[in-house]
Each structure stands twice: as C-alpha cells, then as structure tokens.
C-alpha cells in the first residue's frame, strides 16, 4: 500500500490542533510557535501533494480507500484531481499567514481568569479548520464530505463568536452581543443548508445504494444508474442549496458580512478565502458530476443568481462604511463570478472559476490582512476614521493598494487572468450575462479606489498621525502574498497545467463541448 499522503496532510494539522490546545495556560507563546510550525509542516506536505500529482495522469490520484461504516455504505475514500490539488495548496499556503497575522489577536485580556486559555483555543481551532478543509477537498465519498462540511462549522463558529475584532464601536457588551449574533447567524444559515443537504444525501443513498463519488459518477455516465428527472432535480437542489449558502450566493449571502465584520481579520480571511471555497469546489465536484442533467437544467437560474450576486455585492460594497464589511461584499461579488464560471459550462469558464478560487483566496488574504493591521492600529473599522495614512505609513498603504488592485483584477496581477477567463467562458455561451458581469469589474474599481482614496490619501487625520508602519512580522505576512499575486499574474501556467485536465473531465461529465467561436461557425 502506498503512503497515505492526503491523510497525513490532513492529520498533521489535526494532531497539531490537539497539541496546541493542550499547551498550559502560561505558555502562550509556545502554542503560537507550535501552531506556526505545524501549519508550515502542512504546507510542505501540501507541496508534496502538488509535486506527486501528475497533471496528465489518472483523474483521481493519491487515492486511499478504507472501510468505515459499512452499514451506511460509507467508505473513507480520498483522492484529488487538479482542482483539489490547487485548493489544498491554497489552504496550506494561507494558514501560516493567517496564524502569523493573528499572532496577538487572541492574547487574553487582563481581567480574564487564569484557566481560560483563549490563545491556545484560537490557534487550535484554526488548525482544526485547516485539517477539515483539506480533507474535504480530498474526499471522494459523499458522506465523508458531508461530515466534514458540517463538522467544520463548529470550530468556525467558535472562531467567529469567541474571538471578535477588538476594534469595535460602542460598549464591550454591545460588541459581544453583535459577535455572538454573527456567529449564530453563520452557524444557523450553514446548518440549515447542511441539513437540507443531509436529506439529499440520504435520498442519493436510497437511489444509488452507496456514497462513492467515483462509482456513482461512473454508473451515471454509463447509464447503469438511471434517475428520474424529478428525483435528480430535487437531489441537485438539496446539494446546491447547501453549497450556495456556503459559497455564498445571493440571496443566501447575508451571513457573510456579519461574520466577516465581527471576526478578527485573519478569521475573516479563513472564512472567505478558505472555508467558503469548499462550497464552490463542491459545486464543481458534486453537483456537476452527480447530477449533470439537473445541473444543465438549473444553469439559467443559477447564472441569473450569480449575476445578481456580482452586481448586488459590488453595489453594496460601494456603499459600505466599514472596511471589513466592504471586503465581505466584494467577496460576494467575486463568488458570483466563480459560480458563473462554473455553470457557464465552458472549459474557459470552469478553468477560470478554479483559478479564481485560488486567486481570490490570495488577493482577499492580502487585502484583508493589511486592513486588519490597519484596523488594529487605529482601533476602528470605519472608513471615515482614516485619512492620509500613506504619508504616515507608506509601506502599509502600498501593500493595501496592491491588495486592492488585485481585488479589482488589474492586469498583471493574478485575479485578472481568472476573471478574464470566466468572462470569456461565459460570453461564449451566454453573451448577455458576460456583458452584464463586466459591470462588476467597473464597480470593483469604484469601491476599491474609493476605499483607498478615503483611507490612505488626503490630509492626515489627527488620530492617524502616530500610526506605526508595518512591523517585521506583518511584512512577512504581506510580502509573500503580494509576490505570489505578481508571479501568478504574469505566469499562471503552473496552475493552469494542474487545473485544465480536471476541468476537461468535469466538462465531459456534463457532456458539454465548448461552443465554437462565432467566426468559425459562420464559415
């Protein structure tokens, strides 16, 4: 039997989480370093996964399969395709930065009792989420995926509710109430989505008799497993609903601004850059493969919802007064692009969507983490409280600008490639949708540049005058992310090489071919 690389990649952060949680209360710094080392170790393992993965080989590689719960027809089955590899790499890449950026976010307050160990808990929860996310990107058993999809809500919930942003307006009690509201909203939205998916998971079992993604998909493709049209559509809707809540797609998005606003910046990055990707990833992997006919049936509606997300998210981002909520609405707009790319059913669209997931992760992390550093310095999340920062803290302002430009998909930075691909892919099949979606880019320029202008330029505000520039730890967080944005913007080939074969498989699952270009068709 070969080395269970995927299991180990997920087991390391899980074990690290338990160890970190067990560190005694007084040894806070030990816990931090332990978490950082574990997340770096996971990054090494994830790199190993990417190296061992052969883009031209089998569809699912590094597979593992063990009996688990035979009564439910459940196996512990792992395997990655190119999309999974890219997202595992993204996850493992971002966690060390999240840990480093959140270094002081969970230091205990003076007043707290000695037995309460927030720091240990904070880092242990982050590692726990990492383990579950990695495993969910690798799961090829629907039930296993479902379990992880649901279980990761619990550590996320404690991260949001237990460790709020210390920069808040109003009283502590008020902030605590808002925070627990955000955490509960996050959990309930996702739990309801998950429970509806549970009904569909059970329905799938009744229809298919097992949970193996590869077996069911093969049986579907060969026509052995017939599904009544209505059954397939209902099951599809059950799955899609859960993923649309997670992703989040308009009109199920309202939990995201609350959660991202109230959580600390690193946790907000964890939500939007890592955990939410599970939703869009699952659309590609489960919705399209298991229910190809229903996916095609639902495409027009989903494209419309995605368009609404793009425009509505961007419009609301323009109107935000809170920096973190602005990034949250921008993310909603970007998730609209991702979902549109997936359901455009063209290979450019789906490649673009997968790249978009990775690039959005990196660019949002860069923007949000710098925003977090800014907010920690001033103690306020309101845009109006800032002004002229670039004169006081030029490095901070510069990195903030790069993150912002990446968010608006400036050519030369990584997100441009993916956004362009998504738009091209969509236009080929749905020209009107492609055109409308372009307005999202214009609005993105508006909200990003206005944000930069209001906070960084202009006369220096009194409260900002003494603001220190980025410290070494913060530079270590930001510099590699920006470097990555530049590299992937100029040379995205390593990523596209891994992703493209997987997208071709998915396209053949839904029996779609790219529409021929108009000019060629006219000949």
């Amino acid at each position: 039997m070969s080395f269970p690389l995927l299991t180990v990649t997920a087991a390391l952060p899980a074990a690290g989480a338990i160890l970190t949680a067990a560190v005694p209360a007084a040894r806070r710094t030990t816990a931090k370093w332990l978490a950082l080392l574990v997340s770096l170790g996971t990054l090494v393992l994830a790199a190993l996964v990417a190296v061992r993965f052969e883009p031209g080989g089998e569809r699912y590689q590094l597979t593992e399969s063990h009996a688990w719960i035979a009564d439910f027809g459940v196996r512990y089955e792992l395997g990655v395709d190119g999309i999974g590899v890219a997202l595992i790499a993204l996850t493992a890449l971002l966690i060390p930065f999240i840990v480093l950026a959140g270094w002081h976010d969970a230091d205990p307050y003076e007043t707290q009792t000695k037995r309460w160990r927030p720091t240990q808990g904070f880092f242990a929860l982050i590692l726990m989420v990492e383990a579950m996310v990695i495993l969910s990107f690798a799961a090829t058993d629907v039930f296993l995926f479902y379990i992880l999809f649901e279980a990761m809500l619990i550590p996320m919930y404690f991260l949001i509710g237990g460790f709020g942003d210390r920069a808040h307006t109003g009283t502590d009690e008020n902030a605590a109430a808002q925070r627990s509201y955000a955490a509960v909203k996050f959990l309930l939205y996702n739990l309801v989505g998950g429970l509806i998916m549970l009904a569909a998971v059970i329905g799938l079992y009744v229809v298919a008799g097992n949970f193996s993604l590869t077996e069911i998909a093969a049986a579907r493709a060969s026509g052995e497993l017939e599904m009544a049209t209505d059954t397939e559509r209902l099951l599809f809707l059950g799955f899609f609903f859960a993923f649309a809540v997670k992703a989040p797609l308009w009109p199920l998005h309202t939990w995201l601004p609350n959660a991202m606003g109230e959580a600390t910046a690193p946790v907000a990055v964890l939500i939007t850059a890592v955990v939410d990707k599970v939703g869009t990833f699952a659309m590609l992997r489960f919705c399209l493969q298991l229910f190809p006919e229903a996916s095609k049936w639902a495409t027009p509606a989903i494209i419309v919802l995605a368009l609404i997300s793009i425009v509505y998210g961007a419009l609301l981002a323009v109107g935000q007064r809170d920096i973190k909520r602005l990034v949250a609405y921008a993310s909603i707009s970007h998730f609209g692009f991702i979902i549109m790319g997936i359901f455009a059913m063209t290979s450019q669209g789906q490649s673009g969507a997968t790249l978009y997931m990775v690039n959005h992760g990196i660019s949002t992390a860069a923007l949000m983490l710098v925003a977090g550093f800014l907010i920690t310095r001033r103690g306020s999340r309101l845009i109006a409280d800032y002004g002229g920062v670039q004169k006081v803290a030029p490095v901070l302002a510069g990195t903030f600008l790069v993150g912002g430009l990446a968010t608006l998909s400036l050519p030369g930075l990584a997100p441009f490639v993916s956004e362009f691909l998504v738009l091209v892919g969509t236009f080929a099949r749905y020209p009107v949708a492609g055109i409308v979606a372009t307005s999202g880019i214009v609005l993105a320029a508006l909200y990003t540049l206005v944000l930069y202008q209001r906070t960084m330029t202009g006369p220096v505000k009194e409260e900002v005058r003494a603001m220190p520039d980025l410290k070494a730890r913060e530079l270590v967080v930001v510099a590699p992310l920006i470097a990555l944005l530049l590299v992937l913007g100029v040379y995205p080939k390593p990523l596209t090489e891994i992703v493209d074969p997987a997208v071709r498989h998915t396209m053949s699952d839904v029996q779609q071919k790219d529409p021929r270009p108009e000019v060629e068709a006219a000949k």
């Binding site: 719960i69 035979a70 439910f72 509710g161 925070r179 627990s180 009904a199 079992y205 009744v206």
Partner: protein, 554 residues
C-alpha cells in the same frame, strides 16, 4: 359464576401452556438461565429492601451502592453471556411459558438499559456536590422523604444525617421492570412490567433534597397521568383479548392474519371483530406513546423532568425511553405487521407532530432541564421515524439510536448536577452565562452533549439520526425525513443558544459555581463523552451489533 365465564377465565390462564395440560395447572416451566438478567436485578432489589431493614444506618449507603452496582454489572454480564451463547440469533426463543421473549432486540435493549442504569446509578451515589450538613455528606435525595417539607421532623432528619438509601432498591426494581418491558411477549406481562418500572419512578421523582415541593408536585403529576395512561393501556389489553381470545402476541398476530379458526366459545360474539382490535390497539399504543413522551401524550415530560432530582431525571429520560420504544417495536412488528397500513398513517402524524412540537416549544424554554425535556420529545419523534420504517433496518436503526441517545442523556443530566449555586442546582439558563469562561472543561463537555443532541457529525447523535432517517427514507417515508431535517434545524437553534450562553456571554459575578464531583459522577460524564464520540467516529461495530439484533422472535 356461570360455566362459560369460568371457562373463559380458565382459558385465560392456560392458553400459553401445553394443550394436553389444559385440565390441570402444572408447575410452570421457567428457563432461569435465559431470565437471569431480570432475576439478578429483581433479586438484588429484594436484598436491597432487606438491607434497608437490617443493616445499621451508617453502613447502608455503602452496602446499597455496592449491591446495586454489582447487581447491574452482573446482570449485564448475564446479557452478554446470553448473547454470546447465541440467544440473540439462532437460539432466540420464547421463555417463561410464553410470557417473555429472549431474542436480539430484547437482549440488545436489556444490555443498553443495564449499562445506562449502571452509569446513571453513579450519579445517584454522588455525595460531594452539596456541602455537608451537620458533618454528614449528603446526596441529591431528601433526608427523610416522608417528612413534610419545612417541618420540624424534616429538620431533625437532616440534623441526624439521614439519607434516603431506599432509592437504590427502587432503582433496581425499576430496572427490573424495564428489562421485562421490551421483552414482554404477552399483553399482561407488558402491563405488569410497565407498572413495575413506573411505580418506583413515581416515588423516585418525589424524593429530591432541594426544591422538595416541586419534586413532589412532579411526582403527583407523573403518577396521575401515568395511572391514566396505564388505565388506557389496560383497557386496550382487555379489548385486544376480546378480539383475539388471548393476550399472547403470537396468538393475536395469528388472529390478525387470519390463520386461526378455532374460536374461543365465550368470545364468539367479538372474536375477530376489527373494531375491537383497532380501538384496543390504539389504546395500548397510547399507553406506550405516553411513556416515550410523544406528542400529544407529552404533557408530563417537562414538569417531571424539571421537578425530579436530576440523577433520577437522567436515568428516567434514558432508560424509560429505551424500554418503552423496545416494547413499542415488539408490539408493532410482532403483533401487527399485517396491519401496517392501519397504524402507519397515525404514527406518521404522531412522529411529525412530535418532532416539530418538541423542537419549536423548546425554543422558548428558560430552564435547562425543561429544555432537555423538550429536546427529548423531539428525539422521540426522530426515533418514531425509524419505528415507522417497518423494516429490519428500521429496527436496527432504532436500537442504535436508543443506545446512542441514552448515554448522551445520562451524561448531559450529570453535567447539570454539577452547576450549582446556593439554592442547589442552578438550572435557569441565565445562570449558565459565561460558564465556558469559568469552567472551560465542564462547558466543553456539555457542548459536546448538546452538539450530539443537535446531530452534528462526528457525534453519536449524527450517526443515530442518519441511521433512522436512512431507514425511514428506504421505508418510503421521504417526507418524514424532510420534516425531520427541518425540525433538526429548528432544534439546532436552541442547543446553539445554550452554547452561545456558555461561551460567548460574560460570566455574571454572582453566577453559580461548578462543583468538583467525586470519581462517581466523573465516571458517568466520561463514559457519556467517550460513547458519544466513539459512536460518532466509528459506529460500525455497534451498527453491526444492532443489525444482528434486529430480528424479533415470534
């Protein structure tokens, strides 16, 4: 007495015996080995009563705890030995002259009841939570149950350091009844077992040390409503006898499917009359639905759960549910498989109302024990969904669910006993605010139990819920699954509310303290957590066990 009546009575006593021996009453044939679990427990209960009479007061507590634990463990060993000897599968059979079935479901449920009781008894024996009175360690039970609350007599009893050690034999009697209940193979045994376990429970509810008036009120409510439901059940038994001319499950089943043609002369008028069957069966079912706390027979649950001493609540919530669902399964699957289409719609309705009402009403609760009571109602609804499946998978999923649920319940109530203020247990939810800050471990453990109740993956609650929903979906009850999922979502709200309170609210300065328990309660809680996580992560072994145990003998 007229001759025909005499024949009727006579035949009542002899239907189960050999036909050749009908004219004389011989010594009954009792298979002592197969009945060993019940006999050990009831025997120990009798010894416990004798201990109460003859052992000096200061030694009673230790003697009783020792006796109870040993008896329950021995009975569990006997169950395991029987199952290992094949009595659950190949050698399953009817014993005690047709009164009791020894088969897979019976042994599985008996094992579950015994283990749950064993773990629950540790919380009964806990004496470190309350501060010592007059130099005597005290447990959760009144110094002298017969003393009027607040009277001189009570004060004297407290001062003298009396303790109600009678609770231990009472528990044993209750367990004895519960062991027979799911194994009962005729309606009279069913009724007697019901009374044998109910009466000690009524008493146990009344003997709380603190809040005695509430405790007594709970007991009276439980007793009155319980007596009412017993009466229904008994009336139902009578009607069923009128229908089938027998109280034996097998015989009734034969009459239902029409394979019996000899009509008991005294019942010629009524035998085979479906009206009697349907009304009688509805009444018997009512009695059982009362015991599991299904809507609309659930009214007693919150009051009794709240008023009873918490160790009793935990024991009652877990073990009674196991026993009553076991009895219901046997009744539905052995007696009435042919009538599935008559009882299914009704049970659908009951399951739907139970799931939804339990979940919705729980949202408004402000007392942790009442909250858990409504949660237990919602869970009864989930289990009913599995019962309705009417397939072997349905049986095994219900068995598994009951095992998983009972340990979560016992564990959760054990945690409730720990959170205390000056007035005893602090059960009002507002007092639990910030518990996670002050006692992270206790709060984390309770959170695990709540997540299991909510059915979050990687806990036993999820495995169980998945098993029953899967069985229900395969049994053609897809709509029930959807409603179950919706009520799970509603229920998740209030479990999460408690977690929010514990972890995200600031502790109140005058809030309750968490008592440090003795190893007894710690064992209970540790076992609860261990089982909850084990059944969540690796449920296969227990699913197999439940799967093998899912065939009823007839």
């Amino acid at each position: 007495m007229s001759a025909s009546a005499a024949v009727a009575v006579h035949s009542l006593w002899t239907t189960a015996a050999e036909p050749a021996a009908a004219d004389r009453i011989g010594a009954p044939a009792i298979e002592y080995a197969q009945l060993a679990p019940t006999l050990i427990v009831v025997g120990a209960a009798v010894v416990g009563v004798l201990l109460e009479a003859f052992v000096p007061r200061r030694a009673r507590y230790h003697a009783q705890v020792f006796l109870t634990v040993v008896a329950l463990a021995a009975a569990f060993a006997a169950v395991v030995a029987l199952a290992a000897g094949g009595h659950a599968t190949t050698k399953a059979g009817i014993v005690a002259m047709g009164a009791i079935a020894v088969d897979g479901p019976a042994l599985f449920l008996q094992g579950t009841i015994l283990l749950t009781s064993l773990v629950a008894v540790f919380t009964f024996a806990e004496r470190r939570l309350d501060p010592a009175h007059h130099g005597h360690r005290v447990d959760s039970f009144a110094a002298e149950a017969a003393a009027v609350p607040g009277s001189e007599q009570e004060k004297a009893a407290v001062k003298a350091g009396f303790t109600t050690t009678e609770v231990f034999p009472l528990v044993l009697f209750a367990v004895g009844g519960m062991l027979v209940f799911p194994a009962a193979n005729d309606l009279l045994t069913l009724f007697i077992a019901l009374e044998v376990f109910s009466l000690p429970l009524y008493l146990l509810c009344a003997v709380a040390r603190r809040k005695r008036l509430m405790s007594q009120e709970a007991a009276v409510k439980y007793f009155l409503l319980g007596a009412f439901s017993s009466a229904f059940l008994l009336f139902g038994v009578a009607l069923m006898y009128g229908y089938a001319g027998s109280v034996s499950y097998a015989r009734i089943a034969d009459v239902v499917d029409g394979s019996v043609s000899d009509i008991t002369p005294a019942l010629a008028q009524t035998m085979g009359n479906d009206v009697l069957l349907l009304i009688g069966f509805a009444m018997v079912l009512m009695g059982l639905l009362f015991k599991v706390g299904a809507v609309p027979f659930h009214m007693w649950t919150p009051d009794v759960y709240q008023g009873a001493p918490t160790p009793v609540t935990g024991f009652m919530a877990a073990a009674t549910k196991v026993a009553a669902f076991g009895a219901m399964l046997r009744l539905l699957y052995v007696v009435l498989p042919g009538l599935r289409w008559d009882w299914r719609p009704v049970m659908w309705g009951v399951a739907i109302v139970t799931m939804l009402a339990g979940a919705i009403v729980a949202i408004t609760q402000t007392d942790i024990k009442r909250l858990l009571a409504y949660s237990s109602i919602a869970h009864a609804g989930f289990i009913l969904a599995g019962v309705i499946a009417a397939t072997p998978d349905g049986v095994s999923s219900v068995l598994f669910y009951l095992g998983a649920y009972s340990f979560v319940t016992v564990g959760a109530f054990a945690v409730v006993t720990l959170v205390r203020d000056a007035g005893g247990e602090a059960t009002h939810l507002s007092k639990w605010a910030g518990l996670g800050r002050r006692s992270p471990l206790v709060a984390a453990v309770f959170a695990v139990f709540l997540l299991a109740f909510a059915g979050i993956p990687l806990t036993s609650g999820f495995s169980g819920k998945f098993a029953v929903f899967k069985a229900a979906a395969e049994g053609g009850a897809g709509a029930l699954v959807v409603i179950g999922v919706i009520s799970s979502a509603i229920a998740a709200f209030f479990y999460i509310r408690v977690i929010v309170l514990m972890f995200f609210s600031e502790p109140k300065p005058e809030g309750p303290t968490v008592a440090v328990p003795s190893p007894l309660t710690m064992t209970t809680i540790a076992v609860g957590v261990a089982v909850t996580l084990a059944l969540g992560v690796a449920p296969q072994y227990f699913l197999d066990l439940a799967g093998q145990a899912s065939v009823f003998v007839r």
